[in-house]
Symmetry: C2
């Protein structure tokens, strides 16, 4: 193990002073292009890397991003993390994982503790928070005090903190419209948890599509469900066994859609012949379910990327002016379809990414009622 080189070693090797090397390393101006080149070459040859601890201590940036992550077991997390990691890997930053136990997700105090741990340890110079839940208020405070924070989706309404999510309403609209175009008219919806913004938005998208064709949402065809496995069991059974049952079901998400698939199987109803079902999220197992599930894909990977790029943009700004301006950021997003142009300061930054319908085999055209 060759002993770790310091900036001084490089300075000596290049025949200059530490300061000059430091300047090159931090991309300062006022360095002779020739010496810059030379120093860069020496650095390259010796694969020298700055000591982050020392750099941070001396007043430089820490190049560490803290990520506040809910249970990695949520099936949407891996893709989000992939997006995050990819951007981080191509940057000079590293990612610290502050993951939250499932238990803690709902406990306000625990979250406050974690955040204070992040702050006090003084490591991370920015925070990426996925589904922060109750801690959103602390994060908002932090952000308003100038600490870089970006949020990836959440249960509640976005605050002033830059915020990335998918367009749930449009996605739900697309799903419902698709069923309508297949000829379905009795389309049921199993809702997500009432306290999730996404549930509301999906419900609204469902209503939007219905109203477009002059249909009013039928209260009998809307049932509460949830977002986790088996949350949709009873609603699914209810719809399937009710007299004059719906010919299609739009589930709050894929997990609930699986419940519908299972319930249908149990009651001898064939999908898609006798019942069409659409999910939401497009998590991995949806490609392999029986039948493969038609669903609305949330661009989790892209959301992770987008959010990380936004955070990096914040991080690269002088700390005095840490409001995000997407427009002139070096990490300007390519994808933010419905994002309003936010060039002026102090306007909340929200990026809403577009979803898209993934057609698989769980839907078929309505051909009149088929008895069991």
């Amino acid at each position: 193990m060759p002993k770790k080189l310091t900036i001084r070693d490089i300075a000596e090797l290049a025949g200059v002073s530490k300061s000059t090397v430091s300047r090159v390393l931090n991309a300062k101006q006022d360095v002779d292009p020739a010496t810059r080149e030379h120093i860069l070459k020496v650095i390259e040859e010796h694969t020298f890397v700055l000591d982050m601890a020392a750099s941070k201590l001396a007043g430089g940036r820490s190049r560490l991003i803290g990520s506040l992550i809910p249970s990695l077991a949520w099936p949407l997390m891996p893709e989000i993390m992939r997006g995050i990691s990819e951007v981080v890997a191509q940057s000079p930053y590293e990612l610290i994982l502050y993951s939250i136990t499932h238990e803690q997700v709902h406990h306000d105090k625990e979250q406050r503790d974690i955040i204070s741990r992040i702050l006090h340890s003084n490591l991370a110079s920015g925070i990426l928070a996925v589904f922060p839940g109750p801690s959103i208020c602390y994060l908002t405070e932090l952000y308003e005090e100038g600490f870089p924070v970006v949020i990836i989706d959440d249960r509640s309404e976005p605050t002033s903190v830059p915020w990335v999510s998918a367009d749930n309403r449009l996605g739900a609209h697309a799903a419902t419209k698709y069923l309508l175009q297949l000829g379905h008219r009795r389309i049921a919806h199993i809702q997500g948890p009432a306290d999730y913004r996404a549930s509301q938005e999906r419900y609204l998208g469902y209503c939007d599509a219905l109203q477009e064709v002059g249909l009013a949402p039928d209260p009998d065809l809307v049932c509460p469900g949830g977002f986790t496995p088996t949350d949709g069991r009873s609603a699914a059974s209810h719809f399937i066994t009710m007299p004059n049952r719906p010919t299609a079901i739009f589930a709050s998400n894929d997990h609930v859609a699986y419940d519908v698939l299972a319930a249908a199987d149990e009651h001898g109803i064939r999908v898609p012949e006798q019942l069409s079902v659409v999910g939401f999220d497009d998590i991995a197992p949806s490609s392999y379910s029986r039948p493969p599930l038609t669903t609305v894909r949330q661009p989790f990977y892209e959301m992770g990327k987008q959010a990380t790029e936004m955070l990096l943009a914040l991080l690269e700004r002088p700390s005095t002016q840490r409001r995000l301006q997407i427009a002139d950021s070096p990490y300007a997003p390519e994808i933010h379809p419905k994002a309003p142009q936010l060039n002026q300061m102090h306007s909340p930054t929200r990026v809403r990414m577009s979803t898209n319908l993934v057609e698989r085999s769980s839907c078929s055209p309505y051909k009149g009622h088929i008895d069991c």
Copy 2:
């Protein structure tokens, strides 16, 4: 935002010198219990936390663990991560995520790059490597040079690096024995990838159980498969459609078991009435498959915990003598059933955790052949 306190502030507040504060912070001996208490109180009152950057720079430990993680999309990862996070959270350490893209998993060079990135950035003072694959050789080098490394399972044989995995052979033995006890005699096995140690071990466990009842493994009942979704499709169809088909199938893992379930469904074979199937891993969807899958649970959560505890034990040791001795470690594992007693130095540390059969609904007693 109250300005960050330094160790000097605390020293002044407590009326002692920085060194003394440092000593109590680092749990050194030779501190008067009275002053220790007093300082601790002051620290507590002001919720002071050491600046890790400065601490590290000054020669202290970095309290940062680097985790080398393959795709988080592997369904076993969330549980492993949960185990890791939980132990890390209760320690003064933080976790840096060096996650590897799926593409990179197999590319030797990329991995070497990541490891050198870890080393050069000089942040992490230890590495937790999950399924390191090709980079195991670098990790071994590192470990032999005294850098703390612990590995959680891998495709190849363990090296001198401390290593945690589940007992695949015993697990497979249990699964097969279970089927035998249900009366099955024609038990097929779909194998995992040939270059995975786990595949071999599971196959051996399968043979063990067969031989115990005087049966020789029938080459016609063993097929190559894989570990990822759809890897088992063709093998499953093959077994199901073959004349005198097996009455039970032991799949290399749960994904492959799902393929068997799907193939059975497709061919109108009822599980478990006409065919019993057992998986391996017990990943989350196995509780919700149709029918719920009987499978061998790998204790991923416990493996994550165990490995992290081992790493912490290494980290807390003086760097001169960084060979792991489980016995007198403060993090001595409670669970390592078949682990040999490794109290002497220089012996490789392997912890093999026990699996256990989770009975659900995909198996039933053999009652003679039932035609479709």
